[in-house]
């Protein structure tokens, strides 16, 4: 397979890879930050494990969103079916551009959500009955990741 004559596929694959990588990096940073805070609470009060685990996991969704966009791209360009589509450079670049929203937002929002989750874990430490409110705060950050996910999915599927 000649690389230069298949640049369209290459660009599309770069888009898929970036979506998965950036989402994964953002999530692991966010989950790491929240995990430190969760460990602090559990070390004093193990009975709060269930509640702090939910808050720790919230920043983990970015990685899943990146993976989802990556799967859709792979499916759209025929790599999952074993028959790669014949993409022009222009089509490949368009798919790469379509992956950018979830790539950038997934990467940046992960640590931001992790910080909010860590702060919310502080709420659980002091007032475990306020779990619902504590969970809503990091979920607010999630809103913008979901918007980016929607645009990436709509764009990738529209380009196919």
């Amino acid at each position: 397979m000649d690389l230069w004559s298949n640049l369209g596929i290459v660009y599309a694959l770069i888009g898929a890879a970036l979506a998965v990588l950036a989402g994964g990096v953002g999530s692991s940073l966010g989950v790491g930050i929240a995990g430190e805070a969760a460990s602090g609470v559990i070390s004093e009060d193990p009975s709060k494990f269930g509640k702090v685990l939910v808050l720790q996991l919230l920043p983990g969704t970015n990685g899943i969103y990146g993976l989802l966009v990556g799967f859709i791209v792979l499916a759209q360009i025929g790599l999952l079916g074993g028959a790669p589509a014949d993409l022009t450079v222009q089509q490949g670049l368009l798919i790469l551009a379509a992956c950018l929203p979830i790539t950038i937002v997934g990467w940046l929002s992960g640590p931001a959500q992790g910080k909010v989750s860590a702060a919310a874990i502080g709420i659980i430490a002091k007032k475990p009955d306020q779990f619902g409110k504590a969970m809503l705060l990091p979920a607010m950050v999630e809103t913008y990741t979901i918007l980016a996910l929607l645009i990436s999915i709509l764009a990738v599927t529209a380009l196919a």
Partner: protein
Amino acid sequence: MKDLDYAFAVARIRSLENSLMSNADIERLMACSDGKRCMQVLAEKGWGNGDEDIDLREMLRLEVGKTWAVLRDVSPDMSVFDVFSIYRLYHNLKAAIQLLCTEIKYENIYYEDAVFSGDELVQVIKEKAFYKLPYNMPKVAEEAYKTMLHTRDGQLCDVIVDRGAMETMIDLGQKSGVEIIKRYAEFTVGLANVKIALRAQETGKTLDFMLRALAPCALLDVNRLARAAATSREAIIDYLRGTAAGDSADLIQESSAAFERWCDNRLIEAIKSEKNKAFTAGPLAAYFVARQNEIKTVRLIVTGKQNKFPDEAIQERVRVMYA
């Protein structure tokens, strides 16, 4: 990302804050009929080591030790909290100099958990190896020791060491990079200056003595404070009215206990802003100050109850809690 190092520590401190004494706990302690009942209530709250016959002094010593153990356990950088151990270190220096120069044997005059123990400091002074000491201590220790040897004036020796301690406290507060610790250092030194000025005025000290004893700080102009103290108590109060410690002016006229209480309550109000922070050393410092405050309040209440002081007299000294 450095502040994120405190995510674990702050979350753990948030959990530990649940076991801090609330104002309701203090009221419960105040309602106890005598010191023995107070000790039972404290033991039920987990204070001490479970020994029913423990005395108050030992119980409080254990609680101070527990607080330091928590900080050592959770903090990624203990140097930030050096400001809290300065008093003990410089106290040990004063005690070591007095012990060497007077050659009178005293029992239990040193703090055990200071950076340098009393015996180590005695050795340093005997060998004149002042360079081994941290902060500004080499200069302070040498000056205080020579002054004590030449003049035998224990009070002057204490003044030199205390001023050195206050200057170090301000310096460490600024170096800590944590706003609340910087404010704690400035506030503590500022109010220590006021207490020194009041005491010096009462005992008729000279202006030179006061200028030597007072440490420059952001809270007050120590030159103006010293000149006011050299004039009269009213002049000190008038000067304070125009400063950040203006609220305390009327309380100084009321009683020294009311002033001390104001100082501690003001500090607790200042640290309450740390309840909203998640990624700095501030909440750890606030927890430490809150523990110091509750230990001091418990000491006042239980000692008062043990000595059968009237409840009104004890209540006047009870501090506001952080929790």
